[in-house]
Symmetry: D2
Subunit: 476 residues, 4 copies
Amino acid sequence: MGKLWGGRFEGGLDPIAWEYNASLSFDWRLAEVDVRGSIAWAKALMKAGVITLDEQHQIVKGLTDVLTEIRTGKFEHLPSDEDVHTAVERRLTELTGPVGGKLHTGRSRNDQVATDFALWLVDAIDRVDAFLKLVQKTLVARAEEDMGVLLPGYTHFQQSQPILLSHWWLSHFWPLARDRQRLAQIRERAAVLPLGSGAIAGTPFPIDRKFLANQLGFKAYTPNSIDGVSNRDSAAEYLFAAAMIGIHLSRLSEMLILYTSAEFGFIDLSDAYSTGSSLMPQKKNPDTLELTRGKAGTLIGRLTGVMTMLKGLPSAYDKDLQEDKVPVFETTDTLCLMLPVVAGVVSTLKIRADRMEKALNPAMLSTDLADYLVKKGVPFREAHTLVGKAVRRALDLETPLNRLPVSELQSISAFFGDDVNTVFDFEASVARRDVPGGTAPAAVTIQLQQAREFLKSHKIRSSVPHSETPHGGDGS
Amino acid sequence: MGKLWGGRFEGGLDPIAWEYNASLSFDWRLAEVDVRGSIAWAKALMKAGVITLDEQHQIVKGLTDVLTEIRTGKFEHLPSDEDVHTAVERRLTELTGPVGGKLHTGRSRNDQVATDFALWLVDAIDRVDAFLKLVQKTLVARAEEDMGVLLPGYTHFQQSQPILLSHWWLSHFWPLARDRQRLAQIRERAAVLPLGSGAIAGTPFPIDRKFLANQLGFKAYTPNSIDGVSNRDSAAEYLFAAAMIGIHLSRLSEMLILYTSAEFGFIDLSDAYSTGSSLMPQKKNPDTLELTRGKAGTLIGRLTGVMTMLKGLPSAYDKDLQEDKVPVFETTDTLCLMLPVVAGVVSTLKIRADRMEKALNPAMLSTDLADYLVKKGVPFREAHTLVGKAVRRALDLETPLNRLPVSELQSISAFFGDDVNTVFDFEASVARRDVPGGTAPAAVTIQLQQAREFLKSHKIRSSVPHSETPHGGDGS
Amino acid sequence: MGKLWGGRFEGGLDPIAWEYNASLSFDWRLAEVDVRGSIAWAKALMKAGVITLDEQHQIVKGLTDVLTEIRTGKFEHLPSDEDVHTAVERRLTELTGPVGGKLHTGRSRNDQVATDFALWLVDAIDRVDAFLKLVQKTLVARAEEDMGVLLPGYTHFQQSQPILLSHWWLSHFWPLARDRQRLAQIRERAAVLPLGSGAIAGTPFPIDRKFLANQLGFKAYTPNSIDGVSNRDSAAEYLFAAAMIGIHLSRLSEMLILYTSAEFGFIDLSDAYSTGSSLMPQKKNPDTLELTRGKAGTLIGRLTGVMTMLKGLPSAYDKDLQEDKVPVFETTDTLCLMLPVVAGVVSTLKIRADRMEKALNPAMLSTDLADYLVKKGVPFREAHTLVGKAVRRALDLETPLNRLPVSELQSISAFFGDDVNTVFDFEASVARRDVPGGTAPAAVTIQLQQAREFLKSHKIRSSVPHSETPHGGDGS
Amino acid sequence: MGKLWGGRFEGGLDPIAWEYNASLSFDWRLAEVDVRGSIAWAKALMKAGVITLDEQHQIVKGLTDVLTEIRTGKFEHLPSDEDVHTAVERRLTELTGPVGGKLHTGRSRNDQVATDFALWLVDAIDRVDAFLKLVQKTLVARAEEDMGVLLPGYTHFQQSQPILLSHWWLSHFWPLARDRQRLAQIRERAAVLPLGSGAIAGTPFPIDRKFLANQLGFKAYTPNSIDGVSNRDSAAEYLFAAAMIGIHLSRLSEMLILYTSAEFGFIDLSDAYSTGSSLMPQKKNPDTLELTRGKAGTLIGRLTGVMTMLKGLPSAYDKDLQEDKVPVFETTDTLCLMLPVVAGVVSTLKIRADRMEKALNPAMLSTDLADYLVKKGVPFREAHTLVGKAVRRALDLETPLNRLPVSELQSISAFFGDDVNTVFDFEASVARRDVPGGTAPAAVTIQLQQAREFLKSHKIRSSVPHSETPHGGDGS
C-alpha cells in the first residue's frame, strides 16, 4: 500500500491493480538521478527557510547513504514500494527518522519524475552521441583505407554510375552527422528544470528555482508549471531521433547484406559479426546487420506508441504519461548495442576490390557517352535519346556497349567520332565528377577533411553535466 | 559460441555482437513448447525411419527430463546458450549423450521457431480470450444490476438524448465480442504446422507431417516450406487484435475517467482500483483507467513496429523476424493485466444514479419535440428548424426548454398544442426507442439476452488444445 | 450554412472553419450508397406508418432522379452542401418539394453515414478481392510455366539450398490466400446494418430493421445503437488487411527488384512495367516494384493514423470519426492500382533460367552432405560440424566444395566414402525434399493443385450483394 | 510515354502502370519551385561554360514564360507528362526549340526533385510557423483578457488545485514555442542545396555549387552526392514536427471540448466554430475541436508511413522516395487549416467565469491545509496523512472540508488551530504559488512578459527567403 498517499483511503489496492500500477520494476533505473534531484531539493528547501541547515544535512547525509546502497546493489526493495520515488523516500525515512518526511514538502511526484526523466535523458543522449561518433569515425577510417577502390553506384537497385567506395562510405557519415545535430538540439530542449512546478500549480514555498537549476546542471527552468509537469516532448523527440538513427543504420545494413551475398560478393564479414545455420553448415549469415534492420522497425514502433499515448491526453498530468519510460529506456539499450555492433561490423569487414571492379559494366558510362555528344554540341535531351538507341543496339547485338563498332554508333549519330572510345574509362568517369560533393578522388579528399572537421568541432554538451554523481553533500 | 553452427567459423563472435544476437533472455518463454515440438519431432523421425524406436525413447526421456528442469526452475543456462533451441538441445545432449545430436536431423531452427511460436501464440490467445470473456461477463452483470437507471447519452461529448445506463454498459460488450471473433479467426490461421519446412526447402526425410500436426494438435500444416518459415502474419494479426482490444478498453476508460470527475460525478471508483497523490491528500485518481488508456497507445506502437519490420523484408527467412517475439510476449503480458483490472474496476465501482438523473436536461428531448411535430404532419426537416428556434428562444429567455410557455412555442408554430408538455418525460423518451438495438428497457432486455447467448455459444477453441503438457512420452 | 441544423444558431460558420469541417470533397464517393440507403429508409418509414405509400413513391422517385444525376455527373454541388448527406437531401427536396423533408425522420447522420460506409466498404472489399485473385492466378500461371527451373533459395539473403522456381512463385500465393480469408471475415463483420440506431439511442418509430437489412443486403443489424454509430472496427480491420497485402507485395517486389539487378540477373522486366532515367540512357528501372514497396509503408501509416484517432475517443459518436474516410478511400485506390500492376509485372517478366542455374553453388548442398553422413549413422549435430570443417577447408583451398578431393574429406571423417560425389546433384537435392510443402517437383505439383483448388473454392461473398444499384423503386 | 528516357525502350508503358507511376497529379505543386531551380541551373550551366549566355537567356526567358503559364493557370498538361519536371521541360522545349533540350545537361531528376522539395518545404515551414505564431498570440491575448479568473486545475482529470485561467492558457503557449524552435532547426537542416549531385555521383561539369546555392537562397550545399539525392530526413523531421503540433492542439482541444460540456460549462464556443445535429435541434457540437483531435491521429499516421517507407530502403535513390510528397503536401494543408481554426475558436469563445468559480471545491485546498501543518512544524509526510484523514472524515460526514468543525480537525491533530479557516481561500492559495512558473498572479504576469518576449524575438528565417518568385531573369 502506497505510504505516500494513504490517509484518504479505506481499503488497499487490489493485488492485480497494484501490479498493473507499480512502476518500480522499470523506473528503478531513475534511482540515482532521483537521489540527485532530492539532494538539490533539500538544499533549496533550506534556502527557502522550510527546513533548517541541520535538517538539510541529515537529509543529504541520508540520501547519500541511500545512493551508496543503490550503487552497491544493497538497496532492498519492499513489496510496498510503488515506484522509485516512494522507495527512496521510504528508505530515507528509515535511515533518518521523521526528518525524512520533510523532504517532500512543496514538491509532487509530478515535477519530481519530470526532473528525474530530464536528468536521465540528458545522460542517455550523451551516451548515444558518443556511440554515433564511434560509427562515424569508423566510416572515416574505412573511407581513408579504401581510397581508390571503385564500385558500381546503384540507383533503383540498378547499376548506374561508377563511384569511389570511399564516397559511398562517407554517404553514410552525413546522415549520422544530422542525427548528432538533432540530438544536441533535443538535449538542449530536454535540459530545462521542471522541479518547482509542484503537482500543477507551482510550489507555495519561496524556492529559488535558478539555484535548483544550477545545482542540477540545467541552464533554464520551465516557464509554466502546468506545462512543466505534463510536457513529454523530449521523450517523443528522442524516440524520433532514435528511429532516424535506426533508419540510417538500416539503409547501411541493407546494402551491406546485399554486398555479402554470393551474387555481389563485394564484402566479407568478419566471423566476429556473423553467425551460422543450425542446419546448413556452409552458411555464414549477416545476423547482426539483419537485426539492425529489424530493430529499426521496433524503434519506429516505440515512437508511434508514445506519440499515440500523448495524443490521447487532455491538459496537464495524467497517469498515461508513465508509459513514456519503458520505450525510452529500451530504445537507449537498443542503440547502445546497435551502434557499437555496426561500428564493429564496418571496421572488421574485408572488402573485395576485385569483385567490385569486375562488376563495373561499360553501360554505366552511358551518361558519359551522352556528355561526349553534348560537348560536340548536341543538346543533352537529344544526346540522351541517341545513346539510348546505342544501348538498345548493344543489347540486341548482345555486345558490351564499349565494343559496339564505331560504325554502328555513327549510323545512330554522325557526332560519334573515332575518339569515342576514350569515354569508356571508369577512372576517368569518376575523376570528372569533381564538383564539391562529387565522387572524384579530389572531391572526396576534401569531403574527408570536412568529415574530420565535423568530428572535431561538433559538441553536444551545452548545459547539463552528464555525470550521475550528486554534487557534494553539504550546504555549499 | 554457438555450438549449433560452429564448424565453418574461425573466430568467436564479438562479445557485444553476441549480446546483440542472443535471444535467450526473451525466447526462453518458448522453452516448454520447444520441448513439446521436439518430442513430436523425435516421434516423427522414428516413424520416418531416421532413428530407431530405442533412440526415440532415449530422446523423449531426455526431453521430458529437460521439461521437468524447465518447469521446476532447475534448468541452468550457460553463457554459450544462444537461444532457447540451442539451450534445450545442449542440455538434452548432456543428459542423453550423442543420441541427442540426432534430434535436429531434417529440421532447422527456422521451422522449429515458427512451430514454437504458433504453439505459444495459440495458448496466449486462449488466455486473452478467457480474460475478455471475464470483462464481458462483468459488463453483463452491471447491465443487469443497473437496469432502470437513466443518464445522459453523449455525442460529440455533449448531452444528446437520455439513455439507459444498462444500454451504455452493453455498448462496450459488443466491441469485445468482435475482438473475440477476431481472436478465434486468428487462432485458426495461426494453428497451422510449419515443422517439416526445414530451413526453406522442406525436409529430405519422409516425415509424416499429418502425424506431426496431430501430435501437436494442429489441424493443418503449411502448404509451402518457404512461406512456412517466413510467414509472421499471425504475429501481426495478433498485435492488431490486441491493439483493437486496447482501443475498446481505452474508450471505456476515457468515459469512466470522465464520469469520476467532480463535474460529472456519475461513478465512484473502489479504493481497490484508485490511487492517491503524494502531494494532494484529497485526491483519488483513476490511475488504473489512465494506464489502460495509455497502454492502448503502446499496443498500437508494438503493432507498428512489427509491421514495419515485416515490410522491410525480402522473401524467405531473415533474422529480422526475431523482432516479433518481444512485442508478442509483452503484449500478452499487458493484456493479461489490463483485462482483469478493467473487469475489477467495472465490477467494484459504485454508480451514483441521483447524479445521473440530475444531469438530465429537458433540452435533450428536443428530438422528441420535433417528433411530436412530425406526428402532427410537419415534415421532419421543418420540425427540426422549428424546435431549433424554440431552443434558441429558451436560451435567450434563460429558461429550461420544458418551461417555455406554450404561447411562446405557438408563436413559433401553430402545431404546438397544449399536449406538448407530455413530451418532456425522460422515461417515456427512452421507452419510445424500442427498436432492436434501441435504448428502451424492452429492447435492452432482449439485447441482454443476446449478450448472454453470445457468452454461452462463442467458442474459440477449434484445433490446438491449449494445454502445454506434452502428450505422453513413448512411441504411441 | 448547413441547412440541416440551422435553427438553433445565430451566426454562420467562419469560412475557414467551414472548409475545415466540410467533407463533401471526399465523402461524395458515398453518394450512390447514400441514395441506396435512403431509398431503403423511405420504404421502412412507410412500413412503419410514418409516411404514406404515396409519399414513399415521391421520395423514391426523387432519389432515383438524384441517383441518375450523380451517375451522369450532372449533380450540381452548392457551396452550402456540407456533406454528401446534406447535398443529397437538399437536391431531393428541390425535386420533390416539402415531402423530401420527411425522409430524415427518425434517423441521424450518425447511423446514416455508418450505413453508407458499410455499403461502400463491402463493395471495396469485393473489388480488392477480385484483384487479389488476379495476382494469385498470375502466380499459379508462372508456377506452371516455369516448372522445372531451379534457382538458389535464399535465407538471410544468402544462398541456402536449391529450390524450384515454381515453389518460390507459390510461396507468394499463400500469403495472398490468407489476405483473402481475412478480407472475407472482415466483410462479414462489416456487413451489419447500423441504420435504425439514430444519433445514439435508437429510433422512436417502429422501424422494421430486419426488413431494412434485407433491403440493403445485410444479413444482420447492430445489436446496440451506441455501438452502432461509433463502431469503426471495420475501417481499422480493412486498413490492417490492406497493410498486410502491402507487406506481402513488398516482400515479393523486394526480391524481384533484386533479381533484376545486374549481379543477380535472374529476371528481365517487361518494358511495359519499367521506366528509364532522365540522365542515364542505359537505365531500366523497376519503378513499379519500388513504388509497391514504398506504398506498403504508406498503407501502414494509414492504419496507424486511424487507430491513433480511434484510441483517442470516448464512447459514442465524435466528429473525429470523419477521419476514417479518406484513408479508407485512398487505400482502396492504392490497392486497385497496386494489385493489377503487380499482376502485370509478374505475368510479363522474362525469367533467365540460365542465370539462375549458373548461380547454383555446390556449397548449397552442404546440408545434403551432412544428411549423407547421417544416413551412415553419424548424429546430425556431429555431421553438421564435420561438413562445416569441409566447407572451411574448401574455402581455404579456394576450391568448390564438390571438387574437394575425397581424401581431404576423409581426413575430416572416415564416414565420407567414394560415393560422396553423388551428393552434388542439384536436381536430386530438390527431388529429395518430397514432403508436403517441400520443393520437390512431385510435392510442388500437389501444391499447385491445392492452389488451383483454393482459387476455385474460396468465396468472399456471403451477405451483401456488391452491386451499387438500388433495388427497384417501388414499395415491394 | 516518358520523353525523358525513351531511347532504350521498345514498348510503351502499360496504361495502369503509367497511372501508378505518374506523379503529376500531386507533384505539380512543385511547378513554381521547379522553374526557379531550373533558372538557377541554366545560369550555372552558362557560368560553367556548358551553354552560351545567349542560350541562357533563351532558356530563362522560356522558363519565365512557363512560370507565367503556371501562375495564371494556363499551363496545359499532356497525357504524356509523367511528372512536373517532364512537363516543365516539355513545355520549355515547345517554347524555345532545341535549346530547351540543353537544360537537363549535368543534372538528374534525382537532384532536381530533392532541390524542388527543399525549396517547397522551406516555404511550407514559414507558412506553418506564421500560423503557429497566430495561435500563440491568441493565447497571449486570452491570458491578458481573462486575468484574474480562477478555475480548478485538473490532474488525472480530477480537481487538484485552483489555478489562474490565464496560467492555463499560457500552458498551451509554451508547447507551441517548442514547436516553433523545432521548425526553425528543421528549416536550417532542410535548406541545404542538393543540386549538383547528379543521379548519384555528382555532375561532371564545373558547376559552381556555391553560386547555385546563393541563387536559390541556400546557405550550404550537400557534402556528398549519394546522400544528397537520397536524404529525406527533412520530410520525416517535418512530419514529426507536424505531428507534435497536432498532439499539442489535440490536448488543448480535448480540454476545451470537455469545458463545453453541460457538466463543466466553463466555456461557450462561438456559433462561428460550432455545428449542429441533423437530428437533435438542441445540439451545438464542437466539431472543429473534435476534428483537430482526430486529425492529430492522421498526422501521426503520415509520419509513420514515411518513416516505414524510408526504413525499407537500401542506400542511394529509389523510387519509393516518391511517397514522401503526398504526406508532406497534405500535412501542410492540414496545418494551414487546423491552426487558424484553433486560433479562431480560442479568440471567439466566451468564458463563463461564474461556472469556473462555482466548480472550485474546498477539498482542492488540502495541500494548503497540509502546508499549514508543515508551517507548524509537522513533517510534510505526516501532515499529508493527517489531512488525508480530515478529508476522509469530511467525506464520511458529507460536509465540505472547510465546514469540518475545528474540534473534528483537532481530534485528528492538535496542530490544527483556530486559525485553520484562513487556509480556505482560493485566491490566497493561488497567490501563494509565486515561484517562477507558478500560478500566482505576480508570476503569471512575468510569464506573460516572457511569452511576449518570445513572440518578439523568435525568428525562423535564417537562410532561404520564402518568396517563390525567381530572382530576376538574366545573368546577374
